[in-house]
Symmetry: C2
Subunit: 265 residues, 2 copies
């Protein structure tokens, strides 16, 4: 039993898709979230810089006495998960393995697509993890550098978004039966992506898959928050820029009023 909060970090608002799933599956857990909107997107940046930024976010969360950290960003997971997990004495989860594992279980043709940021695609982490687990899998990866800026600027339902998604995904249409949304921002574009790929293609939300793992690790490490009958989950959200924009997206996505503060790292 441990009533401290769970820490989430992301380059911006994408990690909120993981938070929404946590709120649904584990409503008694408390959240501290930091989104590095000032420096989003992380995807086009060099690995060393992503590593440095990610550690800054981790260090910030540690000042909030979190009991577990979820790196709710595929790019940061690709670059720094193993190192951070190794160095901290609290559990640290990334979003890549849960997504890979779910895709292997889901595909029936052994053809898996992965859409992600340029850095995640360059790291080749999804292909490596998938092929390690299941060598017979064919993995098609595709960088979609325009998706995160669309989401961070709250243009998810615009006609521009539809056009960008349509053009970006065309190399994958008809090629795979399972598609990993390998960036936590992408579930915010989910209905457009599903529409472009076709209704028979199964979309894997790497962040949502991760929450199943959070639940199991809370059990394993005996870190669950007690489920008192009166729920007063006291969440805290921090953004490194544009609190108003972050708050608008976050409240719309999470369906509740939120306390969002600006923080300088």
């Amino acid at each position: 039993m441990d009533n401290r909060p769970i820490g989430f970090l992301d380059s911006g608002v994408g990690g909120l898709t993981v938070v929404r799933e946590l709120m649904r599956q584990l409503p008694h857990e408390e959240i501290v979230y930091i989104g590095d909107s000032a420096r989003a997107p992380y995807g086009p940046r060099p690995a060393e810089q992503i590593r440095e930024y990610t550690w800054q976010l981790v260090d910030f969360l540690l000042t909030k006495d979190v009991k577990m950290i979820v790196i709710a960003c595929n790019t940061a997971t690709a670059v720094a998960w193993e190192e951070i997990k190794e160095k901290l004495d609290i559990p640290v989860l990334g979003v890549v393995l849960p997504g890979s594992s779910a895709a292997i279980k889901t595909t029936s043709t052994d053809r898996i697509g992965v859409i992600a940021t340029p850095m995640t695609v360059r790291s080749d982490i999804y292909r490596q993890k998938i092929v390690d687990l299941a060598p017979q899998m064919q993995v098609e990866t595709l960088a979609c550098p325009k998706f995160v800026p669309l989401v961070e600027s709250n243009q998810m339902t615009s006609s521009v978004a539809k056009k960008v998604v349509y053009e970006s995904l065309s190399p994958l249409v008809g090629q795979v039966d399972t598609l990993i949304l390998g960036c936590t921002h992408y579930p915010l574009l989910r209905s457009i992506i599903q529409n472009v790929m076709g209704s028979e293609v199964k979309l894997i939300d790497s962040g949502a898959e991760t929450i199943r793992d959070v639940s199991v690790l809370l059990n394993y490490f005996q870190l669950n928050h007690s489920r008192d009958t009166v729920i007063t989950a006291d969440h805290h959200f921090y953004a490194t820029a544009g609190v108003a924009g972050f708050k608008e997206i976050a409240e719309s996505w999470l369906g509740q009023d939120l306390n969002v503060e600006h923080v300088r790292l």
Copy 2:
């Protein structure tokens, strides 16, 4: 990636219900199983003796170079899980927490029943874990000392079994909407139990729930067996008594020919 086997221990054949679920969910993993049939049932024994026996089984599994241990026995979990998990440098899973957690998610009336061995009931572990997680839950526990001997003597479908289950469970009928099978032997009596409790009561198989956790921990600790296209899972089963009886129950339950060896601890 780690191609070593996963170790399972039980007082006898009960842990096979957990193994069956592993074979279904994670068919590429290799298994070493030890059932202490010579000294089953563990349920009526004093805690110190159960602790000693459980450590002997753990030490045996360690000689087989296992990468993870599943204590596929509720009684042994109740007595020794935390201690064993603490002392070993490989992951060690018990079956109590996954079952408790699943029951809390399943009940809609907050009334959960637990049937288990006398030792597990005396330890009060299920009630404690459930109420820790969700204080509003009402937990009714019931010791069923006659169930394990029925299963170990392969009388699961006999008319004696039906009579024993009917008489044993009568205090719980109509009292709960969710029933934890808090002993890994009990899924072998599942259809009779369901029949006695009524079709609307949800049965929670603590062992099957545990395999979901095994899967997540294999990911988290990066211990998955590679899924080569040619599957040659080379399982090993050991029993401390009655290889013929163990083999008959195991092959019938798991639906395949098995290599069962006798071992003296």
